[in-house]
Amino acid sequence: MERLKTGSAEVDEILAGGFPRNAIHIIMGAPGTGKTILAEQLCFANAARDRPVLYLATFSEPLQKLVGFLQEFSFAHPEKLGTEIIYEYVGEDVLTSPQRVTERVEELLTLHRPKIIVIDSFKALADLMPDRSAWRRTLDAIAGMLSAYNTTTFWVGEYTSEMISDLPEFAVADGIVDLARIERGARDERFLRVLKLRGSGFLAGNHAVHLSSRGIEAFHRFITPAAPPDYRPVIERLKSGISQLDDMIATGWLRGTATLVAGPSGAGKTSLGLHFLRAGVDEGEPGLLASFQENPTQLIRVMTHFGWSTKQVLGPGKLDHFYTSPVEIQIDTVAHEIVRRIDTHGVKRVVIDAVSDLQKGASDPLRYRDFLYSLAQMFAARNVTSMLLIETAGVFPGHGLTGYEVSFMSDNILLLEMLLEDKLTRTIRVLKSRGSEHDGRRHALSITQSGVAVD
């Protein structure tokens, strides 16, 4: 099946390579969700002088507005307008005689012989029809004519999900891409989802979308890798960065494994993670700290407190710090950035501080659990050793991992607790170390000026 690239490699990946050619596709969504941007982006990505793109603006998308805003995007090359991309305003024809729209489209098709035709907004045409049967006849004629010719058509419209089962254009369309905006507290999240792609597979589900001057960028829903990780044990023991902790696990801390570190705020999780990464840097293993709490300034402060030279620890080939505010987290975007940095820098050790922050960016608990599982599988597939930090609800012992449902995916579990007596005592214990004997007793953990120590 021949495909039409969209100008976004990520959107193409979601569409299993792009929109199928010689087909009719609907790009739907509420105003401001990026429909026109996606349509224009794919127009510029496919523009060619011998077979131009024909962009038909109806009255709800005046031509001046379309072309004016278009020039804000880096993908738009104004020199292509009028030759490789031809904008036509059909609003007046539509207003004068809605049922004449088919003739007008045919005139333009035979005149320009376009390889892509966009009608924006297509829904506006239906809204102008005198009745439903008139629209069905017009739709049948337009669809028949567009299907007869070697062109790929996009009907852009402000359709809602409720209209899909009701409006005849959705039965006619070969592909349907829905762009949605969902309010989460004070911020909006944008998603792209493919509802239909006749004769083709696609990545199902909601995929995060960013709109910027570069156009539309998608971050496909993070899923378990298609090829399962190789579970043949790699018997290569790593150092945790705390020698006493290494002594608590007989044969654990193996490369490619995942360790869950759970504890309340202030228990020493981040410090433990930093030691793990620091030990990797000392061994020449690039590390990645993805944090949603410590910003770069705070991180340097912690390192300096431990007496570490930030120059020795941070930088290319050493420790990479990826910081995102917990307020702005969108889990699929975060996952893609983590994967990108792992692949770019050859990262061997990763600390996520904290995966519980990611829960706030997930649409529901089930998605959160699937996401974490996929993340752990991705690390395993790349033989990356990971430490996933989880902030437990309470300060006192007994507030363990209940309710998090993520412990099943980890090879090791460390539980950090804080005992509030006359003085504050931090403790650590190994709850689980898959396939290894371990010391499950509670040990004192102290955070000193030279780092973390375990007794």
């Binding site: 010689n22 045919e106 035979t110 012989r113 028949g144 004519m145 299907s147 007869a148 010719y149 070697n150």
Partner: protein, 135 residues
């Protein structure tokens, strides 16, 4: 590919039931300088071909009353019509079946005006050269 002067205004019979394909074929072939006649089904196409003796017959396979491949075989087995060049232009990916039925060329839908006109023009060129060779 531009039509040769000598083959301009050549008659092409299009056997097609889809009104949109007919309109587009008519537009592009006439614009390229050919005359176009139509038949809506296979039987009518066969009858009109016997009467009109077009230079080229363009036919879909999926047709009412008689499919395009049967039309093709019927024309090619009749000495009076076997000289008509046949282009099977179908939604079915059936190039081999079309060749077996005696078609001279095959194109898969949807309609690409450049490919259609180029193929028709080539068939006319080949036909003209063959006639010149025979003479």
């Amino acid at each position: 590919m531009q039509p040769l002067n000598a083959i301009e205004k050549a008659l092409i019979l299009v056997v097609e039931r889809d009104p949109h394909v007919k309109r587009l074929e008519s537009f592009f072939l006439e614009q390229a300088g050919y005359r176009v006649e139509f038949a809506d089904d296979g039987l009518q196409g066969l009858e009109r071909a016997r009467i009109l003796l077009p230079r080229i017959l363009v036919t879909e396979i999926m047709l009412p009353r008689m499919d395009g491949l049967r039309v093709c075989r019927a024309l090619k087995s009749n000495p009076a019509t076997k000289g008509i060049a046949i282009l099977v232009f179908s939604i079915l990916s059936a190039e081999d079946r079309a060749r077996e039925a005696g078609a001279d060329a095959f194109l898969l839908k949807p309609l690409d005006d450049t490919r259609l006109v180029d193929t028709v023009t080539k068939l006319l060129r080949d036909d003209r050269e063959e006639r010149a060779w025979s003479a």
